[in-house]
Structures are given as structure tokens and as C-alpha cells.
């Protein structure tokens, strides 16, 4: 412990990390997420069966000794499919949201910071994009481009960044008039530096809050895209698809819905607690208590 609190200068990031580490719930969530990622990445090691191996005679059976979480309509082991599905869903959730964040935050920050006519043009473009017929766009993407996860991210990214851009723009517009921004301008900092070093870190609060909500939404959107054929190619699957198939057999085979649903919910809660932990850790005002 530093003998006097003021002795060693602690940068915001070190201070934030110390506060984040002390937030037990956030740490537990981080551990859980890390475990989930490891399980998903090393799926082949843990999976008792291959995700495509069918047992038509068995069909949809409940949890049993051989199949811990039961089997789906084609008699494939659900536990294995959740592991492999986790790979896709986590990747889609994290990467597509990252794409949406990248575009949305930058776009919103530039628009909010620039103000005036540029802001108007950029925001009206966003309004236009809201109305864009997403389904036909997906169909065209599928036809003209080789089907790949990258394509899936672009499709999702193109939809998810819009609302975020609006929220960030709103925040930046009110932030723009604060003294510390004018001070940065007086120092002669280039606009790009001001936006990325001063404006965006101050907008992280709502952005993180929104991001942790986007991830599950993106996973479920992936289910709709996979159903259309753009996302995951059978026999591979994803949590979104598993939940969608489970929902259709909700009464007859409830385990097909419950287990993938629990996987998604657990990930969602962890993401949110981590998000909250990050937000509180990074919030300078919260430093004093």
C-alpha cells in the first residue's frame, strides 16, 4: 500500500483496473466468459460426439447418461452442438458488435463533434439507413458474395451501428461545449486526436451499456440470417439457431430450448456485469467512493 495516497501517480487505466479487479461480480463473470470461450474453442476435446453424427432411430430424446443434454430431432447430441454453436455465436456476438461499435461510435463522434451541415448530412444518412430493407439486402449479399462469416458480420454490422451512432452523437454534442474540449482545441490538437483521445473515452459509459445489450441481440439476429442461409451452414449450428429450433418444439421437447437458452442467458448476464464493472471502473467521477 502506498504510504500516502498521493505518493505514486496512478494513471486512469491502472486505477480503473484496480477498481475493476475489486468488483467481485465482474471478475466472476470474466472468469465464466473465459471458461465459455475456452470450452467453445476447444470444443473438439470436450465434445463427446461429432456435431453432425445423427441417430435417427433415437430422434429427439431427453437428457440421458449417454447424452447429457439430450438430442435434437435428428438424434444429434445437444451438448456437442451447444459447444460448437457457442463458437459461432460468441464469435458473431463479439465481432459483429465490435464492427457495429467501431462504425457507430466513430460515425457518431465525428458527426456530433463536427456539428453544422456535416452533422445534418450524416444524421440524415443514418435516418435513411434505418429504413433500408434489410431482408432484401441480405438476399443480395448471399447471391453475389461467397458465403462467409465475414459476410455475416458486415450484414449485422450494417444494421446495428445506426442506433449507437445516434446515441453517441447526442452525447458528443453536449460534450462538445465542455471546457476540457475547448482547452484541447486551444492546445492546437488536431481534430482527429481530440475526438479519439478526449471525446470518445468520455462517451464510453452509455456505449458500453449499449454494447452489452447488442451482443445477445446480434446472436439472435444471426439465427434469422442463418435460417435465410447467410449465416451458419448446416450441419454446423449456433445458439441462435438452436434456440429457434427449440422454440418450435417447445412443448414436445422442452430441453431443446432450455439448454441453449440458458447458455445465451448466462453469457448475457456475464457480459452485462462485466460491462457494468467496466463502466464503473472507467468513470472518473466514480473514483472517489
Amino acid at each position: 500500500m502506498p504510504d500516502t495516497y498521493l505518493d505514486k501517480g496512478t494513471s486512469l487505466w491502472q486505477d480503473a483496473m484496480r477498481r475493476f479487479v475489486r468488483n467481485r461480480l465482474a471478475i466472476f463473470s470474466c472468469a465464466f466468459l473465459a471458461a465459455l470461450v475456452v470450452l467453445a474453442v476447444l470444443a473438439p476435446l470436450f465434445a463427446p460426439y461429432s456435431y453432425a453424427e445423427q441417430d435417427l432411430a433415437l430422434g429427439a430424446a431427453g437428457p440421458s447418461v449417454r447424452h447429457w443434454l439430450g438430442t435434437d430431432i435428428l438424434g444429434r447430441d445437444l451438448f456437442t452442438r451447444i459447444l460448437y454453436g457457442g463458437r459461432v455465436s460468441l464469435m458473431v456476438g463479439l465481432c459483429a458488435t465490435a464492427v457495429a461499435l467501431l462504425i457507430g461510435v466513430t460515425y457518431g463522434a465525428v458527426s456530433g463533434y463536427a456539428g453544422g451541415r456535416l452533422d445534418t448530412v450524416m444524421m440524415r444518412f443514418v435516418d435513411g439507413m434505418f429504413a433500408f430493407p434489410f431482408t432484401i439486402f441480405v438476399i443480395i449479399l448471399m447471391v453475389f458474395f461467397e458465403r462467409s462469416l465475414l459476410l455475416l458480420f458486415t450484414a449485422i454490422g450494417c444494421v446495428e451501428w445506426l442506433t449507437l451512432a445516434r446515441i453517441v452523437r447526442g452525447q458528443v454534442r453536449s460534450l462538445r461545449r465542455q471546457e476540457f474540449i475547448e482547452a484541447a482545441i486551444c492546445l492546437g490538437l488536431p481534430r482527429r486526436r481530440i475526438i479519439f483521445r478526449h471525446v470518445i473515452p468520455n462517451v464510453l459509459g452509455p456505449v458500453i451499456v449499449y454494447a452489452t445489450l447488442t451482443i445477445p441481440a446480434v446472436m439472435l439476429l444471426e439465427a434469422f440470417l442463418s435460417f435465410l442461409g447467410l449465416g451458419v451452414q448446416p450441419p454446423m449450428s449456433s445458439w441462435g439457431l438452436l434456440i429457434k429450433e427449440g422454440a418450435e418444439a417447445m412443448e414436445a421437447y422442452p430441453w431443446l430450448l432450455i439448454f441453449p437458452g440458458m447458455a445465451l442467458s448466462a453469457t448475457l448476464f456475464c457480459l452485462n456485469f462485466v460491462g457494468d464493472g467496466l463502466r464503473d471502473a472507467l468513470d472518473p467521477k466514480a473514483a472517489k467512493d
Binding site: L74, G75, G229, P234
Partner: protein, 541 residues
């Protein structure tokens, strides 16, 4: 703070109770039984109700209640029964049919139904500008095809005439054994000339003559109400010649696209009859409520197109290997679970008395032998092949099962390609696929509707298959009046088809629907058509 949140919760509960009327209110189904109003799930919103324009079953179901052709359908087996025509005579050479209309025949606005109405209707559907997609159903009539293609301009040359107001004579281009069941098809239905003229709908689409107040038909019911995506209501037509025997007062058609939603509506007493049954609910109904579940054979085959122009599928032995390694029994029993029959041939059994004698075998050894013979021992070196299907839960599930079967039995990896409906159609029409999901529902009860598809250059022959011997057999069957000789030609043709295997039959559809016990007069039929005039509601509770 807490006080405020709990207060909103209490309010929400109160609102919930207020909105819901007491649980034991009378459901539409119970009220329907009392008032003889039938509530039916009818899959999707009808595109139109013009008999000469509609193309889907959804539209046929409603048009059949509103319009009646020359020949009606027997409720039990759809055999031809007197309709708008009281009786008919067939010439010895089966080339000329004479129909005697009912003098008492009326349109729903009271006008008399005459032979000229029929001639007007045939002329309308054969008018090129109307661009009716089912005009080809009338090509068996003399010069009909020539008139429709514009090669002749004078309609009087077409083989239909009216010796007097209530007699209609039709002369055919070729002896068509199934002509009477052909007449049951919507494309032969009459339309009310004054209404068509009033709305200038003779050769233009998108007119409003099929909207409720304007629609005039000669069927057992008349169109009362049509709310988009909500309901189509038809009521008993007092002017119908057989109105006395029609017991239903009205029918409500609900466009419910999701069979899950439809099943829930059925269970909560909103409809008497469903259009289909969700795959996952079949077991439940079969064990708990067998009396509600009706699974009936359906004149339709589920098969895979094979692009015979593309290597390695241009090799007959490869196609045979693929066809012989699909475990159709397991697929039907464990995946589809709706008593579908495994299809080892293409035309469904006893279609108008015809049952194909040759068949595709399920023989793993022979298949592997054929595959290695074709140059791919144990599947080694077998190029990447794609199995294409259009987006749907059922196709998705079947494709994965078949993919796994080929992988396990032939050690070849087939990738699945899922395409949206219109893209799928464009791809298959352009022959830009390896293997593609296919399905064909009979237009009329006769093997011809199935077998004439695969003639060289046939409109629906999307496999690139061309076999002159096959073509000649189909042509001779079509021109031969004798029933037995005709079926003989079909046997030979199908034998060739199952040997060349441009298509791999998988299973014969069945039709599944949930029916309320109070629905009477409903009989399983091959085309899943149930004449409404014979239906009635009677609770046996």
C-alpha cells in the same frame, strides 16, 4: 421509490383481468357449431380470387366455394359428378363431349347461367393479354393452344360451341382420358360476363371485380367479406341450384402462415380445421388426441432434381449410387413422422388405377460397387457436390439427414446450400445446381401430370434430361384412347425414368390436418380437396 414500482405492477394486473373476459366464454368454434359457421385455417392471404388468374391451393380452396365448373367432385373420391352441367354425353371416339346445363342454373345475382357464359370464360383464359399461367390446362381442346399462342385469331375455330342456350359441346385436339377430372380444375371455371365487362377485366389484371360487393359466382357460397391478412368470409348462396343440400351458412378462411400459430388457434377453439400440423406436434396428437389428427395420402412426391449435364452426376452409375443410399424408411419414420410413404418410384401408387411396377432399390453394397465402377472407390476423389434447397424447416431437416446418409454410406461429402425461394427458382431454372430439392403436386388425378414433366424441353424439366424413347412413350400414351394400353406406356416410361434417374424420388407426401370432431362430411381425398357443399357441423357431445 419502491412504492412507485409496486403500484405500477398492481395496476398492470388489474388491467390484465379487466381485459380478459371470463375464461369460459364461448369460443368461435362452439358458436360456429350452433350457427353452422365453419372456421378454417387457410395458410396465407389469397393473392386474388379470379379463377383464371389464381395459381395456389390457398386460392383454389376459396374459389371452389364461390364458383362451380361443368363437373363437380364426389366428396369421397373426387370422381366427376354433375355440377353446372346436369349430365353429359361422350362421343364413341372420345373426342367430343356434350354437356347439358341446368335450366335452373343461376349466378349469385340471379342471372341465368348459359353455355355462352362458358364460351366467354374459355375465350377469356385463352386470351394472350390476360397472361394466365394455367391457360395450358385448356390445350387439350382443339386449336386452344394455337389461339392462346396467337397463331389463329378467330376463337370460333376453337373446339367449343353452344348448339343452344343450355348445351355446350367441346371437341378435343387429342383423346384425353382424364378430361372429366381435368374439368374439375379452376382454370375451366365460368366467370360472370356482365361483371367482367363492367370492370373491364376481360384481359387486364388487378381489377376490383373480385372484391366482396362485386364478386358474382355460381358456386354454393358467395363472397361476403375480405379483410387483408385477417379473414375471408363466404356465405350460403341462395341462388345455387343445390342450395337446399348445402348445410353450412358461412365459412371463415383465416390466413395463418405459421403452423405453430395455427395449431395454438385450433387448441384454443378458434378454428375447426387446420391447413397443416407442426412436425413437432405429430407425436403428441398421435398419442394424446388421435381422433383429431387426420393424416391422409396426398397425390404429391418429394424428390431431388439431379443436374444430368454436370459431372460427376452426368454418370448414371453415380446417380444410381446416390439414389440407393437414402434410407427412406428411417427418414419417414424418425424425421417426418407423418405416415408419409417412402418413394421407390416417382408416380404415387394407384393414381387413377396406375401403380408403377419398377422401383429404385435401397442397396448399400450395389451402390458402393456402382460408385467405384464410376471411378470413385470408397468415395475417394469424388468432387465437391452441392445439395440445394429453398429455405424451410422441413427441407432443412431432410437435407441434413440425407447429407449424413451419403456421408456415412458412400463416404462422400455433400455440402448443403440454403437459398431463399425466388433465388432457388432462378437457380434451378438456370440449371445452375448439382442436386436440388423438388416437389410436385398433381393438378389432376392421372399419372400424366407426373410423367409428362420429364419430356425433353418440358417446362418443368429442370434436369437437362433428354431421352427420345421416353418422349415417344409419353406422346403415345397421350394419344391412345384405350385405358390399359395407355397405362402400359406409362409403365415403360417410368421404368426408363427410374433407370436413368434424372430425379431421385424420396417420399410421397401425406396431408396432415387437425379437425374438430363436430366437422361432418369431410373425407380424405388425394388432392386434399373437400367440396364445401357436403360439409356440416354437428356436435356429438
Amino acid at each position: 421509490m419502491k412504492r412507485n414500482a409496486s403500484r405500477t405492477l398492481v395496476l398492470a394486473c388489474l388491467a390484465l383481468c379487466f381485459f380478459s373476459n371470463c375464461p369460459n366464454r364461448q369460443s368461435p368454434v362452439q358458436r360456429g357449431i350452433r350457427d353452422q359457421i365453419l372456421h378454417v385455417g387457410n395458410f396465407s392471404e389469397p393473392e386474388d380470387l379470379d379463377p383464371h388468374i389464381v395459381t395456389g391451393n390457398v386460392e383454389f380452396n376459396i374459389v371452389m366455394a364461390l364458383v362451380e365448373g361443368l363437373v363437380g367432385q364426389d366428396p369421397k373420391d373426387l370422381s366427376p359428378v354433375p355440377g353446372a352441367a346436369e349430365r353429359w354425353e361422350i362421343s364413341p371416339d372420345t373426342m367430343t363431349y356434350t354437356f347439358f346445363l341446368r335450366p335452373s342454373g343461376r349466378w349469385s345475382n340471379g342471372d341465368a347461367l348459359t353455355a355462352h357464359d362458358f364460351i366467354y370464360s374459355f375465350k377469356r383464359i385463352l386470351t394472350a393479354r390476360l397472361a394466365s399461367e394455367y391457360a395450358y390446362m385448356l390445350y387439350c381442346m382443339k386449336n386452344a393452344e394455337a389461339y392462346h399462342r396467337g397463331e389463329i385469331a378467330d376463337f370460333s375455330l376453337v373446339g367449343v360451341s353452344a348448339p343452344d342456350r343450355f348445351t355446350l359441346r367441346i371437341s378435343l385436339a387429342r383423346p384425353t382420358a382424364y378430361f372429366l377430372s381435368l374439368l374439375q380444375h379452376v382454370s375451366w371455371y365460368p366467370v360472370h360476363p356482365p361483371t367482367i365487362e363492367k370492370f373491364k377485366a376481360f384481359d387486364t389484371r388487378g381489377t376490383r371485380w373480385t372484391q366482396p360487393p362485386n364478386f358474382v359466382g355460381n358456386g354454393p357460397f358467395v363472397l361476403k367479406r375480405w379483410n387483408v391478412n385477417t379473414v375471408v368470409v363466404v356465405e350460403k348462396n341462395p341462388f345455387y341450384w343445390d342450395a337446399s343440400s348445402v348445410r353450412l351458412n358461412a365459412i371463415h378462411f383465416y390466413p395463418i402462415e405459421s403452423n405453430q400459430t395455427e395449431e395454438r388457434a385450433f387448441r384454443s377453439g378458434q378454428i375447426h380445421l387446420t391447413y397443416g400440423v407442426p412436425l413437432t406436434k405429430l407425436d403428441w396428437y398421435r398419442t394424446n388426441r388421435p381422433e383429431l389428427l387426420h393424416i391422409t395420402p396426398y397425390l404429391a412426391t418429394y424428390f431431388y432434381y439431379v443436374n444430368v449435364t454436370r459431372a460427376p452426376l452426368n454418370d448414371r452409375r453415380v446417380r444410381a449410387a446416390l439414389a440407393m443410399t437414402i434410407d427412406r424408411e428411417a427418414l419417414v419414420k424418425n424425421v417426418l413422422k407423418a405416415d408419409q410413404a417412402p418413394a421407390y418410384c416417382y408416380t404415387p401408387p394407384n393414381t387413377a388405377g396406375y401403380t408403377c411396377t419398377s422401383a429404385v432399390a435401397y442397396d448399400l453394397e450395389k451402390a458402393r460397387a456402382l460408385l467405384s465402377e464410376a471411378g470413385y472407390p470408397e468415395g475417394k476423389g469424388f468432387p465437391a457436390v452441392e445439395l440445394l434447397y429453398n429455405t424451410s424447416e422441413t427441407h432443412h431437416t431432410i437435407a441434413q439427414a440425407v447429407q449424413e446418409m451419403w456421408n456415412k454410406n458412400l463416404n462422400i461429402s455433400v455440402s448443403l446450400v440454403n437459398q431463399e425461394w425466388k433465388v432457388y427458382l432462378a437457380t434451378t431454372h438456370a440449371l445452375d445446381y448439382d442436386i436440388a430439392r423438388g416437389g410436385w403436386i398433381a393438378d389432376y388425378v392421372d399419372p400424366n401430370t407426373f410423367l409428362n414433366m420429364w419430356v425433353t424441353g418440358g417446362g418443368n424439366n429442370r434436369t437437362g434430361y433428354a431421352n427420345p424413347v421416353y418422349d415417344s412413350l409419353i406422346a403415345r400414351a397421350d394419344n391412345c384412347p384405350g385405358r390399359q394400353r395407355r397405362l402400359g406406356f406409362f409403365q415403360q416410361a417410368e421404368a426408363i425414368l427410374l433407370n436413368d434417374l434424372p430425379i431421385i424420388p424420396v417420399f410421397f407426401y401425406t396431408n396432415q390436418s387437425l379437425i374438430h370432431p363436430a366437422v361432418k362430411g369431410w373425407y380424405p381425398t388425394l388432392l386434399n380437396q373437400h367440396p364445401y357443399k357436403n360439409l356440416y357441423l354437428e356436435s356429438d357431445g
